[in-house]
């Protein structure tokens, strides 16, 4: 009886805690500032949420199967710098974006190969591959950022708008919806969560775990790379340290999102709610004049809180130590 009640409470908390937090924050910032609930602010909020949502989309599944990928910001920076470097070099946008995605695929495959086939520890491996990717990104611009003069075919995505929703946002939403469908309805989604629950059993049941790990790593890198390209278009420049601030955002969104729905397992819907929470927090906080430092502390506390909720409400997984 007692445990049933406790489970129901923790289930309620884990399913609706995060959306509730999002609504609270939204109402809080709308009421305390005049400028939060304006079209211009919401447009910026949705756009930045869409780009970071794309950046963390593939990352979510890598974390779901229990691997750590910390190279995602470096991949975004690399794609960003390749795009900028090649456009400035006169190769044109189509070829530049193709090469940027190709580079992202390469890094993702390299990560996946080392993690799945060589069975190396994912955290240290991606620290190293991320280090190489960001070094390469810095090398393209000889250590500094590059401004892009020429506008390309991707500009349309930002300029075409329906109300305050631009094409970029619609495109991202479509991709996210497709991923959610894959996760919930297709066999691949079931495979991913069976690997999350018990990788050994998944392997014994004949699921090609190594191949799935590689596919997920490549997909994660493609998402990061695509976001890097979009940032190049949005900012009209390539910056080697472009996504540094997104590192903590990504981990917070994915791991905080993991506290929602599938207790402790990162999932697409959870990540997106996490992304929105961070976007609202950053936008609203900026209007109140909070410094970057305050954000860093708040995100850290949020992350710690999210993890503590997962671990401490999930008593069944408790262990000595």
């Amino acid at each position: 009886m007692q445990s049933d009640k406790q489970e129901a409470v923790s289930g309620l908390f884990s399913n609706f805690g995060l959306p509730f937090l999002l609504v609270i924050l939204f109402i809080f910032f709308s009421s305390i500032t005049d400028t939060f609930l304006t079209a211009a602010n919401l447009e910026g909020l949705i756009l930045s949420a869409a780009i970071s949502g794309l950046l963390f989309l593939g990352l979510t599944w890598v974390f779901t199967i229990g691997e750590m990928d910390v190279s995602f910001v470096a991949v975004a920076a690399l794609a960003n710098m390749i795009t900028a470097g090649m456009v400035i070099g006169g190769y044109g946008w189509p070829l530049a974006t193709f090469c940027a995605i190709a580079a992202a695929v390469f890094v993702g495959f390299f990560n996946g190969f080392l993690i799945a086939k060589m069975r190396l520890p994912s955290l240290v491996t991606t620290i190293a591959t991320g280090g190489m990717a960001s070094a390469l990104a810095a090398a393209i611009g000889l250590g500094s950022s590059m401004g892009i003069e020429e506008t390309g075919y991707l500009e349309v995505l930002f300029d075409t708008k329906i109300g305050i929703i631009s094409m970029v946002v619609l495109l991202t939403l479509t991709i996210i919806a497709a991923c959610w469908y894959v996760e919930e309805k297709l066999t691949l989604g079931h495979y991913i969560f069976s690997m999350a629950t018990n990788p050994r059993a998944a392997l014994e049941a004949g699921i090609p775990t190594a191949r799935i790990t590689i596919i997920l790593c490549v997909f994660s890198a493609i998402c990061s790379g695509a976001a890097g390209i979009l940032l190049a278009v949005q900012l009209a420049s390539g910056q080697p340290s472009i996504a540094q601030s997104l590192f903590l955002d990504g981990l917070t969104a994915v791991l905080l999102g993991g506290t929602m729905l599938k207790l402790g397992k990162p999932n697409i819907l959870g990540t997106m709610v996490g992304v929105l929470i961070i976007a609202v927090l950053v936008r609203g906080g900026a209007l109140l004049g909070w410094s970057d430092a305050a954000f860093s502390t708040i995100k850290g506390l949020l992350l710690l809180f999210g993890v503590a909720v997962v671990v401490w409400t999930n008593k069944s997984s408790s262990d000595i130590r």
Binding site: L142, G143, T297, R321
Partner: protein
């Protein structure tokens, strides 16, 4: 079966051969490599990354990760600047800088040990909180008050017993941590807790306390490293910790790959080789971002070499293929 050389001896010889090759290659390119002045510079450069890496060794031996090092470094650097600008005295400044690092590390250890939280996420969170707090001092602006009057800058080049202070700190840290980890009963429990925490718990060792001490040492040594780095720069800044994580992990893993397992001597060996390479690249005036790529590359090679499967392959190729193709 008689062996002329023990496995450890072979590993040490490989390490020495590697050092010789690196020296020979750089010496043939630039004659400035094997000079006394460059050797002193090399040891000073090694002091910062080496001290951080020795702290990290305790965490790696526990089979845990600490990603808060950069945030802790920023916080202790700014604490150092703040206390120095207020008191103007060296001793409280040094104590505060190390104490704040220790405190952050102990919080890490308590959350991971007693709170049962996952190490990676916890240390990322604590690191980002610490990084945010670093900005609370002075609004994130640099501190440079009292650096000359208190003698803070002399920490970087003054000598104790004829040894530069950074190098002296490196040696002292190596001796103390090495003795603690390898020659005391409590130090041995780090390896036990890393191998099998449950068995360690039932043999009467508080694994939680071991975690707190391990993460605490890692944090405190970041504070020590920041003393050297900040005295070298001549002002405290929030970005002080930006470059310490990658070299620290590379030192520990390279050392573990060279000598077979993570230990203080292994970390020193890894740190030495990495610093020798970086020092050589600096002499050849290769831009910093290529050095980062090289450090990352060494890290990957080190993890691959440290991998038990690869070790098995090198030792006994036939058995490796038999066992790995059957399953």
């Amino acid at each position: 079966m008689h062996r002329i050389l023990s496995p450890l001896m072979i590993r040490v010889l490989i390490f020495l051969a590697l050092v010789t090759v690196i020296c020979a290659v750089f010496q043939s390119i630039t004659p400035r490599y094997l000079t006394a002045a460059n050797f002193r510079g090399l040891l000073s450069a090694m002091a910062i990354s080496g001290i951080v890496a020795m702290g990290l060794t305790f965490v790696i031996v526990l089979r845990k990760f600490d990603l808060s090092l950069a945030g802790i470094a920023s916080l202790s650097a700014m604490t150092l600047g703040f206390v120095l600008s207020v008191t103007g005295a060296l001793v409280p400044t040094i104590l505060a800088c190390i104490a704040i690092g220790l405190l952050c590390g102990v919080i890490n250890g308590a959350l991971v040990g007693y709170g049962r939280l996952p190490d990676v996420v916890t240390t990322i969170a604590v690191g980002s909180i610490a990084y945010g707090m670093a900005f609370a001092y002075n609004g994130g602006a640099d501190y440079s008050d009292n650096f000359f009057s208190s003698g803070m800058v002399t920490l970087n080049f003054n000598t104790i017993f004829g040894i530069q202070i950074p190098v002296f700190l490196l040696l002292i840290t190596a001796l103390i941590t090495g003795f603690f980890l390898h020659a005391t009963r409590f130090g041995q429990s780090f390896y036990a807790a890393g191998e099998n925490p449950r068995a360690t718990f039932y043999s009467g060792i508080s694994v939680q306390n071991v975690m707190i001490v391990g993460f605490g040492i890692a944090g405190a040594l970041v504070g020590v490293a920041m003393l050297i780095q900040i005295s070298g720069i001549g002002s405290s800044r929030v970005t002080a910790g930006g470059q310490i994580l990658l070299p620290a992990y590379t030192s520990v893993y390279l050392g573990a790959a060279l000598l077979g397992r993570a230990s203080i001597p292994a970390t020193l060996a890894g740190s030495l080789i990495m610093t020798m390479l970086l020092n050589g690249f600096t002499l050849l005036s290769i831009p910093y971002y290529y050095s980062d790529a090289v450090v990352s590359f060494i890290l990957i090679v080190a993890i691959v070499l440290f991998d038990p499967k690869i070790v098995q392959l090198l030792k006994n190729p036939r058995r490796f293929f038999l066992t790995n193709t059957a399953g």
